[in-house]
Symmetry: C2
Subunit: 379 residues, 2 copies
């Protein structure tokens, strides 16, 4: 496999691109043979195949994404990010997905792109448009808002949507029971909310506050429910801890919300925050009020980050391995890519999704990383 020139000759600026027709002519075969050889399909002799491959490399041939997806299904996957806050998650998922999708080094490139939408409305339109134009083989979303319109839309139109989120009531999951040919549905990403609620309850916190961005994210909503409900098995005397929610939009909002939260006499014994911004706001406010974390106040973050490890005390956080979740998505998405299987293979998606009715969902689930910012509630 010694390629004479690294990536083929430099394509001259204005030059027409090399097509399989060029390769066919140069190799002295027909374009059909070239197509077969290039796609690793049977029906070509090994000698011819090698010759064609070599010629293509020499000529610096590269597939045309447009022409390819004109005939067959597209070979790309879109990961959607809603707003700048979502960028980290979407990026991590995209990286995990693309590394899992790569099989050979120079295999028919399945590319993973991130679609970044300013807001949820735009995100919905992006999704509809991209789908009706069949721009991508599959769509991945991560930060599911409460009753997210994207899920409804996708379900209605049959969009191959993979939602990386806790199960959404009323939306079909990837289980075999459903067995739909279209993998639209929600993916379980661990039961971190339940475990978090249980952990806080075990520590004796019964006044818990939630400081989270205004867009109602599901993790937060799930946590509230879990806190309000009595513990699963042993419905002991302790009723659910009462959790209050404070929303914020801007950085200043977050700081103000934290201040308001800690000002009251009946201040919470634990504050759950949705990310870095709220974490820093709470820590700073606590410092100003001479509240010691974790002894006077426990703080728990719903999305782990480098900042959680750098603040003092380091923050207990729910760590969602977005990269690994992205990698898990590869299995669901692969059958949809025009590549090997034809459209008749769509049924196989049900099988791939079937691995998800493992109670823990995909292999990688959210974990609660306990650090120094949480302690038993003050007496």
């Amino acid at each position: 496999m010694t390629t004479p020139s690294r990536t083929g000759p430099v394509p001259a600026v204005g030059a027409r691109r090399t097509t399989i027709t060029d390769v066919a002519r140069a190799a002295g075969v027909s374009i059909a043979v070239v197509s077969y050889a290039l796609n690793g399909r049977p029906g070509v002799s090994d000698r011819t195949r090698r010759h064609v491959l070599r010629t293509a490399a020499d000529l610096g041939w590269r597939p045309s994404a447009a022409a390819r997806s004109l005939r067959s299904a597209p070979h790309s996957v879109s990961v959607q990010a809603v707003g700048p806050e979502d960028a980290g998650r979407a990026t991590a998922v995209a990286l995990g997905l693309r590394s899992a999708l790569r099989v050979a080094d120079d295999a028919p490139a399945t590319d993973v792109v991130v679609d970044v939408a300013p807001d949820l409305d735009t995100a919905v339109r992006d999704l509809e448009h991209a789908w009706t134009e069949r721009r991508h083989a599959a769509f991945v979303v991560t930060g599911l808002a409460h009753d997210d319109p994207r899920v409804r839309t996708a379900h209605r139109d049959g969009v191959p949507l993979v939602a990386l989120a806790p199960p959404v009531p009323g939306v079909p999951t990837h289980d075999t029971a459903e067995g739909a040919a279209v993998p639209s549905g929600a993916w379980f990403a661990g039961d971190a909310e339940q475990r978090t609620a249980h952990y806080l309850r075990t520590l004796g916190h019964d006044r818990v506050a939630l400081l989270a961005r205004d867009a109602q994210e599901h993790p937060a909503a799930g946590l509230l429910d879990a806190l309000d409900a009595p513990d699963d098995g042993r419905a002991g005397p302790r009723t659910g801890a009462r959790a209050d929610r404070v929303g914020y939009r801007t950085v200043e909002d977050a700081a103000a919300g934290a201040a308001r939260l800690l000002a009251t006499e009946q201040r919470p014994t634990a504050v759950v925050v949705d990310g870095d911004v709220a974490l820093l706001a709470v820590l700073e406010t606590a410092r100003q009020r001479d509240l010691s974390v974790p002894w006077d106040l426990s703080v728990l973050v719903l999305e782990d980050s480098p900042a959680c490890r750098l603040v003092h005390p380091a923050a207990t956080a729910v760590s969602r391995p977005w990269g690994e979740l992205g990698a898990d998505v590869a299995a669901v998405v692969r059958p949809l890519l025009g590549g090997a299987g034809s459209a008749a293979d769509a049924g196989a998606v049900g099988a791939a999704g079937g691995s998800a009715d493992d109670p823990d969902g995909p292999g990688a689930v959210a974990r609660l990383v306990i650090r120094g910012s949480t302690a038993p509630a003050p007496a």
Copy 2:
């Protein structure tokens, strides 16, 4: 312009997509007329045009990106992010660019996608591949590494690359002098480094340390140069402040680096950090050593963020308006989009880029936001 159904009928799941052929048949005209009408080109009577547009809307027609870019240039722009750290920047740029690119509400969608690469090598390959496949009309990169291979590659292959970064020595800028038909080159994003260096020098800091990620980013490199050099005009007695550089890769590295930096007797009077992670590391270390910021130690951040406003004291930071820079890119990129002008319009790029030889580059430049973390050097 009252569209009967909002976005047209729901395309049935397995159904073939509606093509201009369908529209033509339904409207009782030829496909050429439909194409002209849909693209707002002259040569169709107003009556026919309205009829066609209406029919297309009724049928829920959407253009096929693949088919379109098979003939003409693609209508999409790619913004590249290298690694998770770059995600925020790239996302902001993409959002600014796409909002600036949108003219009408349902105009021929130019879409902006983010390509996220795990590392620089992959990024270079991504760029080469996407370009040779003519997947996008233009490519935008933001976090230029020192002597970034992407710039060289793009220059060599004639890739329409817009680099949002300080000027790179040896790489042609978007000035009219160059006048190349291909807008490959670097874009000026303000002289924040010089101003930062000047500011620190003015405050009397002559032992400055830089704590930055190992990938040599240009902002950091530029700052070092600026600090080492004597002040521009008045080359007074004070020689350049000596700046030392400490690199980090992981979060733990950053903390260790901060500790090492502040442990020495001859510790710097000011530390410049490249982002949130390093900022928190330095602040926490300072707190542990009972160093008061800013009186014992000044801290300055090279990339503003919400965290900079939430820590105490709030951190002085260079604020780069990536969203606005992205919007500025729209002017450069527009002529490249297959849309209105033909390939002959390529020369117009020189004109658009010409606005960049305004000494400040694009309209939006980096600013130094002075907050509470910087003060005169201790005596």
